[in-house]
């Protein structure tokens, strides 16, 4: 067997979502209504009972389609002005272990394995690291190096210099997947 880490996603679990789930997901991307009984109001909008809304959201949470339920803050507006996409050239046989190590720090908001594109792009782990300023971001990267033992791993820090566009992704979940 070829044990090399493949270019294919290995954690996409096919999930059966019916039309009602998909309407619920689409609606949830706009956030909960700020009322005492938000799930009841969603239910009225979608033709579902409050119990059904709660039960389906619990299912999506249990299945990992929803990563968390709660307040979604805007870092930049709250004083976290610096962010760096930090990319690492991890050995293929250790990328999962090292990715999990990096993914647990509270100042890391994204930690994905993506394909290398050789020869021009050798990096296979992509992380987004936040800080109040660039010095704090660099200090956070140093901490990751020490705690995860990455002294010999090649990496680059890409600070953003200009924002051309930023808005939330609105998916229309139509496909059965």
């Amino acid at each position: 067997m070829d044990m090399k880490v493949s270019d294919k996603a290995i954690d996409t679990i096919p999930l059966i979502l019916d039309d009602q789930d998909q309407r619920l997901i689409t609606r949830m991307q706009l956030g909960l209504p700020m009322v005492a009984q938000p799930y009841a109001q969603l239910g009225r909008e979608l033709g579902m009972s409050e119990e059904d809304v709660i039960q389906r959201l619990q299912y999506l949470l249990d299945e990992g389609v929803i990563k968390r339920m709660g307040v979604v803050v805007r870092h930049h507006e709250l004083g976290y002005r610096a962010n760096a996409m930090t990319v690492w050239d991890m050995p293929d046989d250790r990328v999962t272990e090292l990715g999990r190590c990096i993914g647990q720090f509270e100042f890391v908001t994204l930690c994905y394995r993506r394909p290398r594109r050789l020869p021009e792009w050798p990096y296979n782990l992509f992380t987004m690291i936040h800080g109040q300023d660039r010095d704090e971001v660099m200090a956070n990267i140093d901490m990751i190096h020490r705690r995860c033992g990455l002294e010999s791993v090649k990496y680059e820090v890409l600070f953003s210099t200009r924002r051309f566009k930023q808005r939330g992704a609105i998916y229309r979940a139509n496909s059965k997947s």
């Binding site: 700020m34 949470l61 307040v71 979604v72 803050v73 994905y112 496909s175």
Partner: protein
Amino acid sequence: MHRQTEQTMEQARQLGWLEQHLLNDFQHGLPLVSRPFKQVADKLGTTEDVVLETLTALQEQGFISRVGAVFRANSIGASTLAAMAVPEDRLEEVAQRVNGYTQVNHNYQRDHHFNLWFVVTAEHEETLRKVLDDIEQHTGIPVLYLPMLEDYHIDLGFELQFTAGN
């Protein structure tokens, strides 16, 4: 830095106890019960009405984008990161072309040889590939297609450090 950002940051430094706890303590685990904000209020020793008013105000001030669910990438629809190495004198033109696609929701310049980084989201992977091909054809610049393969991030939210009130 924009003046507006300076203003919101000054406001952020002056957030009160209740605001700070609403921002930090409920980024995950919002209860899936009939009256979730009542439970939040009970934990913070206040009322449901005050919680709802304060969250609405934080949203209006731009500190919160929403209260609700964070979805796992690629669990619904398809998305990818993409990068281009754009000559400096064409950056504005190429960035504007990329911005023109409704499927592009983030687009940043970064200091690197690959200086333009954007995220494309669509219902299907075929649509993604079409957008990337179209950008390549119209600009004559190759696009790196960098889809997510594995997600290692345990998302419990982001712990904010508030400096002592002044």
